[in-house]
Symmetry: C2
Subunit: 209 residues, 2 copies
Amino acid sequence: MTSENEFQSKLLESAVTELSRLPGVGRKTALRLALYMLRRDEREAVALGQSIIDLRRGIRYCSECHNISETELCPICADSRRDRSKICVVENVRDVLSVERTGRFTGLYHVLGGVISPIDGIGPDRLEIASLVSRVSANPEIDEVILALSPTMEGDTTAYYIYRNLTQNSHENLIVTRLARGVAVGNELEYTDELTLGRSILDRRPFDS
Amino acid sequence: MTSENEFQSKLLESAVTELSRLPGVGRKTALRLALYMLRRDEREAVALGQSIIDLRRGIRYCSECHNISETELCPICADSRRDRSKICVVENVRDVLSVERTGRFTGLYHVLGGVISPIDGIGPDRLEIASLVSRVSANPEIDEVILALSPTMEGDTTAYYIYRNLTQNSHENLIVTRLARGVAVGNELEYTDELTLGRSILDRRPFDS
């Protein structure tokens, strides 16, 4: 059989092709998903397809923090109860959700849209760094910027670049902080890598009971 | 935050919920897929959503063999070059595609829609067994039915049930066959399980060079 009529159905072929564009989905998995949807209620399959279309068509980005939003300002930026003096800088939308789930941060966010990575051709100009710097310098009420980036080479480079830019272009009272590094809560010490354990000794804190 | 506005967007929430209904997709993966689609071209995301809707709305089942089809008869049943004297009985649509890919079968198919499995509440009446028996008895040109079912307890039970029904209800010249069982091509003998190896000795064939 030729590959054109591999599935004996153009509709199935097309669904498999589109599904296999998703990350981590090969043609075998795509076929499994497509056949699964054929076995389900039509209503359910249509709801899935429509939700993807609606999502892509309806979602925009917050003009202030670049988080996803259905309106000009995202719900967090629009929420008057949030502490407007603290900005948490994250790599992407998923990290906003992660920090929100901790329930430990009540300020606003700034989503960079990635980290500096020369190997992937991502320079500072591809990220929302200039908008962060102008946002901070235009809002004297902001007194702290928390760099909540991954403790990787790229994350550290990006954090340093932002730190330099912020301190050169902002008011003097601004504090720039980063996430604490140390042993993960609930992890056995013997399985903690040396770099993390070493950092957790350097960053040790007074014992409070 | 309450779980209702976990994603700060009803559109995202809805897409994640629908995606996480797929087999093997949890909410974390669903979120990853949804955010991936947000980063892609609108055209691409809409094409994916639309292909799922079109698939579910456009696909029907072949009235003859119960394979998926976009027309009354599937392309295989409608193909006059296929050998109409041989019927290959398979569990599902995926198995049709698998057998087709081998290029070793030129006959027609019959898709059961599952195998007998009392534990899952699937009896013979839930499967396309009666339609197979009447199809074979109504077409004297059919001289062989190949039971291409998985060599599992359920597959074997189903094969035996079909075999009994076919031999009681069909013309005398009908041959019922099953797939050969033996060592997998390309596999080391030492990693072949005992049952399969034992079966391959019982089913040994004359050596042909």
